[in-house]
């Protein structure tokens, strides 16, 4: 075989480059870590909106469905299989029990390389603690609203009850 040394050296380099993503993954600290989602520990947070198996396999379908129902159909409450009612709010209900996405969602999502785009628009709970709250603007002492008395809320509730 002519140029045996060059060919074998070239092959070794080629195989090395070709498999480099695997070496990179093995050497990096995060990628091959076993996912370790932190589960809620509080007593009143012992059950999710559906069974563990369902949530593991189909949580994305459930989230999509909730989104459609809340935004488009005006359905805001969800009754789970065992009769408990949940408000269909991602940032409140889901993140109420799983407050840190990096300890929960990202654990598996990073592992399988599926990136989430929820946070492009929705605010992470960490952010929710910063900055002045809207409630401050709307408090009776607020300058913006100081001159205005709110209309009878009960009456308004009735007026908009069609959305419930």
């Amino acid at each position: 075989m002519y140029d045996c040394g060059k060919i074998i050296a070239g092959l070794v380099i080629f195989v090395g480059l070709f498999t480099s993503p695997f070496w990179y993954d093995l050497s990096s600290s995060t990628a091959l870590q076993t996912p370790n989602p932190v589960l809620p520990t509080k007593a009143d947070q012992n059950e999710c909106v559906a069974s563990l198996e369902f949530m593991r396999r189909d949580h994305m379908a459930l989230l999509n469905e909730w989104r459609t129902e809340v935004v488009r159909d005006g359905i805001t409450y969800y009754r789970s299989a065992n009769g408990r009612e949940f408000e269909m709010r991602y940032t409140k209900t889901c993140l109420g029990c799983h407050p840190d996405p990096s300890q929960f969602c990202d654990q598996c999502h990073n592992y399988i390389g599926v990136s989430l785009y929820c946070w492009d628009c929705h605010n992470k709970p960490a952010l929710q603690r910063q900055g002045p709250q809207l409630a401050e603007i709307l408090s009776p002492k607020s300058e913006i609203l100081n001159k205005h008395q709110m209309q009878n809320p009960k009456q308004l509730k009735l007026m908009f009850s069609h959305r419930r």
Binding site: R67, Q133, L134, I137, H148, F160, H162
Partner: protein, 267 residues
């Protein structure tokens, strides 16, 4: 078995007759339905889905005689911008506008008179999405990202928006804005209770649908120090909006286009 020419002609004739009869029947039925409906809704009222079937048709009345936007008041705008995480790109070309001020003659282009009441000449008018009863933006949206709620609010489902901007071309009021850039860095204090938008999404005023669902008034209505804005159910004869419209002369923006805007301005 072969079919004779005679049989084919017979069948063709029968088919043609059947199709014509069906068309005629459906057209006739349609016109009768329309007559009945127009009686039920009342003469002069547009026959659209929302005011036919629903008990609630939300509408806004802005009393321009009370509004002091021309004297520098921006409270409705401030409170909206803050609550809905509206970015400030610093350039009027790509500004995101939910509620903003427009000179009277620009807001009401078809009602401009050369000589007019002094207090309305160059008066700044608060304008926002008219949440039309016959919304052209909904008509053109290819993904149904924008749609009309049963109570009349023209909603945006930002999850679905693909940023084609057909709706912006269709809206005759310029009520829709496009995020040419990621808006997050341009929002001063993010309101954590409301989502931001992302690059490539169209947004607009939705009459604070999130507050309406909780039985609250839109923020601009609450924030107005002069109580110039009134929000309510147009289909309820006893509502404040109906009372105001009954007792006062009102104008709407570009009503001739047939979009049936649901913001009424008292002048």
């Amino acid at each position: 078995m072969s079919i004779s020419r005679r049989t084919i002609l017979k069948l063709a004739g029968l088919t043609a007759l059947g199709v014509t009869a069906e068309n005629y029947a459906s057209a006739h039925a349609g016109s009768t339905t329309a007559k009945i409906l127009s009686k039920a809704v009342g003469a002069g009222k547009r026959l659209t889905k929302s005011n036919l079937q629903q008990k609630v048709r939300l509408a806004m009345v802005v009393d321009l005689r009370k509004c002091v936007a021309d004297q520098g008041c921006t409270k409705c705008i401030d409170v909206c911008n803050k609550a809905h995480n509206i970015p400030d790109f610093g350039d009027s070309k790509d500004a995101i506008k939910w509620i903003w001020k427009e000179p009277y003659e620009n807001a009401f282009v078809d009602q401009e008179n050369f000589y007019m009441r002094d207090e309305f000449r160059n008066k700044m008018v608060p304008v926002f999405c008219n949440n039309c009863d016959n919304p052209p933006c909904v008509e053109v949206c290819p993904t149904q990202a924008t749609f009309q709620r049963p109570d009349g609010i023209v909603m945006m489902d930002w999850h679905r928006c693909i940023g084609c901007r057909y709706c912006m071309a269709a809206c005759p009021y310029g009520s829709r804005s496009f995020n040419w850039r990621d808006p997050r860095p341009f929002i001063r204090d993010i309101n954590p209770d409301y989502p931001t938008r992302m690059k490539g999404v169209v947004e607009k005023c939705t009459w604070c649908d999130e507050r309406v669902d909780q039985g609250l008034l839109p923020l601009c209505v609450e924030a107005c120090p002069e109580k110039a804005m009134v929000f309510g159910n147009l289909n309820d004869p006893n509502s404040e909006v109906r009372q105001l419209l009954k007792d006062n002369f009102s104008v709407r923006r570009k009503p001739g286009l047939g979009t049936s805007p649901e913001v009424y301005y008292l002048v």
